[in-house]
């Protein structure tokens, strides 16, 4: 399973990378960052880029910093960078908990957060995080820079709003209020496998009832998304099994599960409901429940 031939480019600056991508994208040129998704596809010859633009040598892309109330994640920030919570606060803790589920340790030393978003595998954990938290994705290309809302970014399985000549150079996640409760649950066949269903929940509690809930489901449909019906079932309710079950039921009804080799849609739907419930229960207990 050897890849098809390609020409290799290793720009030293972001500008050079953007210029190369602009020139080579029409000739089937692609960005190589972590390579943990792209290279296997090339090994199967399902992907046959004529040009690879390796951005691993570009300076300034490897930082994850908090600025203006956002965690800004550069294109070369690896999954492993999130093993230890970035800063105090619920967002860092959430990302550390989610990171553990991504593939395996040696995958996480190479694969990148932004690469995962650009790849848009339906079962990618970071895509669910970006969709659920309404991340803003910064793309740069020959026509300049733009900020794409997560809602508009994920178009389908392996499909994003990025143009072929655009590079995803940064993902911006809103810092979560310090009293945010969060939970994450996923189900896969084995440790490290692609999830068959996953759910990410975040909400706050004011005067004993849930406010500003976010409930995202991934790996069940072609793209991850917030499930409005589930969130509506949580608003104004006291956190607890009853409300969480209602949210899970609402999510199950709202989802249109993929029919694929992995499972039948009805089973997928039930898995989604179970993960929604678990994520919410987790949010109600440490470490999802700060303090």
């Amino acid at each position: 399973m050897k890849p098809a031939p390609f020409a290799y480019h290793r720009p030293a600056t972001l500008d050079a990378a953007v210029r190369l991508l602009a020139e080579l994208a029409p000739q089937d040129g692609r960005v190589l960052a972590g390579g943990q998704s792209l290279v296997p596809m090339m090994a199967f010859r399902l992907a046959r880029p004529a040009h690879l633009i390796d951005i691993n040598g570009v300076a300034g892309l490897g930082d994850a910093t908090v600025r203006d109330g956002e965690l800004r994640i550069g294109a070369l920030v690896r999954h492993a960078a999130f093993h230890r919570p970035a800063g105090g606060g619920p967002l860092g803790a959430m990302l550390a908990a989610v990171a553990r589920h991504i593939g395996h340790y040696p995958i996480r030393t190479r694969g990148t957060f932004c690469g995962s978003l650009a790849n848009a595998d339906p079962a990618a954990e970071w895509c669910l995080v970006a969709a659920t938290l309404d991340a803003a994705l910064r793309a740069v290309g020959p026509r300049g820079e733009r900020l794409i809302a997560a809602r508009a970014f994920f178009r389908g399985a392996m499909e994003t709003a990025l143009a072929a000549d655009e590079l995803l150079c940064e993902a911006r996640l809103p810092a979560l209020p310090p009293d945010t409760r969060w939970g994450f649950a996923e189900f896969g066949r084995r440790a490290g496998d692609f999830a068959l269903a996953m759910a990410l929940a975040a909400y706050r509690v004011e005067a004993g009832i849930i406010v500003a809930p976010r409930l995202g489901v991934g790996a069940v449909e072609a793209a991850p998304r917030r499930i409005a019906a589930a969130e509506a079932a949580l608003v104004g309710q006291a956190p607890g099994a009853a409300a969480f079950r209602a949210a899970a039921e609402a999510a199950m009804a709202a989802l249109d599960p993929l029919a694929d080799a992995a499972s039948e849609p009805q089973y997928r739907r039930e898995l989604a409901g179970a993960m929604v419930y678990r994520a919410l229960m987790q949010a109600d207990a440490p470490p999802g429940r700060p303090g």
């Binding site: 399973m1 050897k2 098809a4 031939p5 199967f44 010859r45 189900f187 066949r189 084995r190 440790a191 490290g192 496998d193 692609f194 080799a261 499972s263 039948e264 089973y267 039930e270 898995l271 409901g273 179970a274 419930y277 678990r278």
Partner: protein, 762 residues
């Protein structure tokens, strides 16, 4: 030393990365072969266009069936039923494509990357035909006048009909074992080198049965035994899959001979999953007739084996093994089995560790559980009532397996069951599980009993010799696929001879070093090669002591050998002579040689007419996730009586490895196909093998309560005893956990299937 858990001789090179797997060997000017494979499950092949491929960079040749038209299809390893001959696989497809993955063309190029590039340029023109994917459905047509039901094999004894007529109860089950296989971590590979100066063709990479493979190659290529040599280095796991002769093995040999350059072939993982032997897929309609106390009066089984597209080197061996070993450790006074050997448009199947027994144990133990459930009796009590006892040994059945009668040599099955239950603390376990279930957990335990087989004869021989430095060389016709063959043989040789086992160099897998060999499969090496090693070492010892007696002025009976040195028993600190010195005195030109045959060397043989029958009990505790159907195995016990362990650490390693493969087949592994016969489990992302996270703590209880009377050391073998009952044991545990007796009728018990059972119970 026999019975000691000594560290392995094989490990040094392996932990330093200095092993020699076939991929690690290269010859100057070698060509790399890449096989072009059918993308269709069933099609009429019209044309294979190799023009573009032939002129691609680095390509030396491209072959299709027309280029090797003088060669016949691949023959069976052992004499097989004549009826199977038309179903043998050609080296390259002629006019029909019968499974996705079938070799259609071979590209020979200077580099594997270039070979793969060129292979993509080969165009296959074919007309798709309807596919047959269900072996239990009505057979179709394989070719004009040939049904896809290649064979029906029957076995049995006693009056089954009368037993069913007189039965207190009849239990009938429809059971399925999913298609899965050994999937060793090293994909297959072959490297052929023709030494034109000596006209010797060397083949590297095929392991398991080197001499038999040599014979197969000889016949196919029309060469003498001395001119075809198999050479084995390190092998990355076999499990029955590696070492049968595949089309690729012949193609590299032909390539080396006809293209005049060494030919190296390494398959990739995707190829392995669609082209290397599959196994296990069987569907059984099984029923038992029992009396009011659960004693089996008769067992009647009709089953369908999904053989895939061709009959490969094993013929119908798996069918035979299934029938012969299905009764297991129970008396079964009357038995009838009918196995349908059916071809489908899938990758061909053959033997995988405990072939026929993994499947048969699933069927048999599910039946026993079902009998207990039907009669409201305890599962263990029902089994005990049916177990063959020690007093009834040796126990014969009028069945044949691998050319010998099924005759259990020794065994105390009730004793092993008692020991296993005691080891896991069965009473306490049951109480704990009840308590947990009452608290809402879905937990349960399952038990399975089985008899396995080993020590297949009829004969094996080895040569042992000592050189002037005292180093011992043991030349065998065996094979080392990772199981520690060399260490085990060295231990037997060393213990018998009186040397340190680290001074014993074991030669295996080199067909030019010894004329005959049995390789290593069917758990026979410990018994057969071990037996021959023991015999040869005894002879060598006698020869050494005879010479030493003269040198030390003592009678041989007064002497002993310790750490390679011969001493007087009554004066161990006194005069001595080393084996190396003795070897020097036995040199052809030695003045002390006398009338003796020169050399400190001996040949030894071991013959047997019957197999040995190790046996086991396994117990699993599982927890089921009610929301997802996922099964977690919390604990596992594998109890096994192997007669006598040469190296308990190695025996346990085999059992643990086998259990984990068994778990794979019970819960995760399955070769699935879509409705067009397209393989769906063709990468490691889809064919799921257990990682360490899926594996529970596995306790092993090795016993030696029933040594085999068939060989002086009492060995029965351990290679396959870990895997055999795992499917049955897990199924039973899941049933109990979810409260659905007889629920699991199909392996693997995937979360989706278990969830369906949960949903069904309301």
């Amino acid at each position: 030393m026999i019975g000691a858990s000594l560290p392995r001789l094989e490990d040094g090179p392996l932990v330093t990365g200095r092993g020699r797997f076939v991929g690690d060997i290269s010859f100057p000017h070698q060509l790399h072969m890449r096989v072009v494979r059918s993308p269709y499950a069933h099609a009429r092949l019209h044309r294979v266009d190799i023009t573009a491929a032939r002129s691609a960079p680095g390509v030396a040749a491209v072959w299709t069936a027309a280029d090797i038209a003088d060669l016949p299809p691949i023959d069976f390893r052992d004499p097989a039923n004549e009826a199977l001959r038309p179903y043998r696989q050609p080296l390259l497809a002629h006019d029909r494509l019968r499974y996705v993955g079938e070799p259609v063309a071979a590209v020979f190029a200077s580099d594997p990357y270039l070979a793969e590039d060129a292979a993509e340029l080969v165009a296959i023109e074919a007309e798709e035909l309807p596919v047959l994917l269900d072996a239990a459905a009505a057979p179709g047509s394989f070719a004009a006048g040939l049904s896809t039901e290649a064979l029906v094999m029957r076995g049995g004894y006693g009056d089954v009909e009368a037993a069913f007529a007189a039965a207190h109860a009849i239990v009938a089950l429809d059971l399925e074992i999913g298609r899965h296989s050994g999937v060793p971590l090293e994909p297959r590979g072959a490297l052929a080198y023709h030494d034109a100066a000596r006209d010797v063709l060397e083949l590297y990479g095929a392991a398991k049965v080197p001499h038999r493979n040599r014979d197969g190659l000889m016949r196919m290529l029309g060469r003498s035994a001395a001119s075809v040599v198999l050479k084995e280095g390190n092998t990355g796991g076999g499990f029955g899959i590696r070492g049968e002769l595949y089309p690729e093995d012949f193609l590299v040999c032909l390539g080396a001979l006809r293209l005049g350059r060494p030919v190296k072939w390494l398959e990739d993982r995707h190829e392995h999953l669609i082209a290397a032997n599959h196994s296990r897929q069987q569907r059984h309609h099984a029923r038992v007739a029992v009396d009011a106390e659960g004693r089996v009066l008769a067992l009647d089984d009709e089953f369908y084996l999904d053989q895939g597209a061709y009959v490969r080197t094993h013929g119908a061996r798996v069918l035979e093994m299934t029938i012969a070993m299905l009764p297991g450790p129970y008396r079964i006074p009357a038995y009838r089995a009918c196995g349908h050997f059916r071809l489908t448009n899938k990758t061909p199947a053959a033997t995988y560790r405990a072939p026929g027994r993994y499947e048969g144990s699933f069927v048999r133990e599910r039946l026993m559980d079902a009998v207990a459930d039907r009669l409201g009796l305890d599962r263990l009590a029902v089994r005990r009532r049916n177990l063959i006892t020690r007093a009834e040994m040796p126990f014969s059945r009028p069945l044949s397996a691998l050319g010998t009668d099924v005759a259990y040599d020794s065994g105390d099955y009730p004793l092993l069951l008692d020991k296993a239950l005691a080891r896991i603390g069965w009473q306490g376990l049951q109480a704990e599980l009840k308590r947990r279930r009452a608290a809402g957990e879905l937990v349960g335990a399952g038990v399975g009993l089985f008899v396995d087989k080993g020590g297949l004869g009829p004969a094996d021989g080895v040569r042992v010799s000592v050189d002037a430095t005292g180093a011992v060389e043991l030349v065998t016709g065996g094979s080392n696929v990772g199981q520690g063959f060399a260490t085990a043989m060295a231990q037997i040789c060393a213990a018998t001879l009186g040397v340190d086992y680290r001074r014993v160099r074991v030669v295996y897998g080199q067909t030019d070093r010894i004329a005959y060999g049995i390789g290593a499969h069917a758990s026979r090496a410990s018994v057969m090669t071990g037996g021959a090693t023991h015999a040869a070492a005894l002879k060598l010892r006698a020869k050494a002591l005879d010479m030493a007696a003269e040198l030390l002025q003592a009678a041989p009976g007064e002497l002993d050998i310790a750490d390679g040195v011969v001493v007087r028993r009554d004066r161990p600190g006194g005069p001595s002579v080393s084996l190396g010195e003795i070897a020097r005195h036995l040199a052809p030109d030695s003045p002390l040689l006398g009338e003796r045959d020169p050399g400190l060397a001996a040949e030894g043989w071991f013959r047997t007419a019957h197999m040995t029958y190790p046996y086991g009990v396994q117990i699993a505790v599982v927890r089921v996730d009610g929301d997802t159907g996922a099964v977690t195995v919390e604990r596992y016990l594998a109890a096994y009586d192997i007669g006598r362990a040469i190296n308990p650490m190695l025996a346990e390693g085999q059992l643990v490895g086998g259990v984990v493969q068994g778990l794979g087949g019970a819960l995760y592994e399955e070769f699935r196909y879509d409705e067009r016969g397209e393989p769906l489990s063709a990468t490691f992302a889809d064919y799921l093998m257990p990682t360490v996270r899926e594996v529970p703590p596995i306790d092993v209880l090795l016993t030696e309560d029933a040594p085999s009377p068939l060989n002086p050391l009492g060995i029965k073998s351990a290679g396959e005893g870990g895997i055999t009952p795992v499917g049955a044991v897990i199924a039973a545990a899941i049933d109990e956990a979810i409260g659905v007796p007889g629920g699991v009728t199909r392996l693997p018990a995937t979360p989706q299937r278990v969830k369906a059972l949960l949903r069904g119970r309301g």
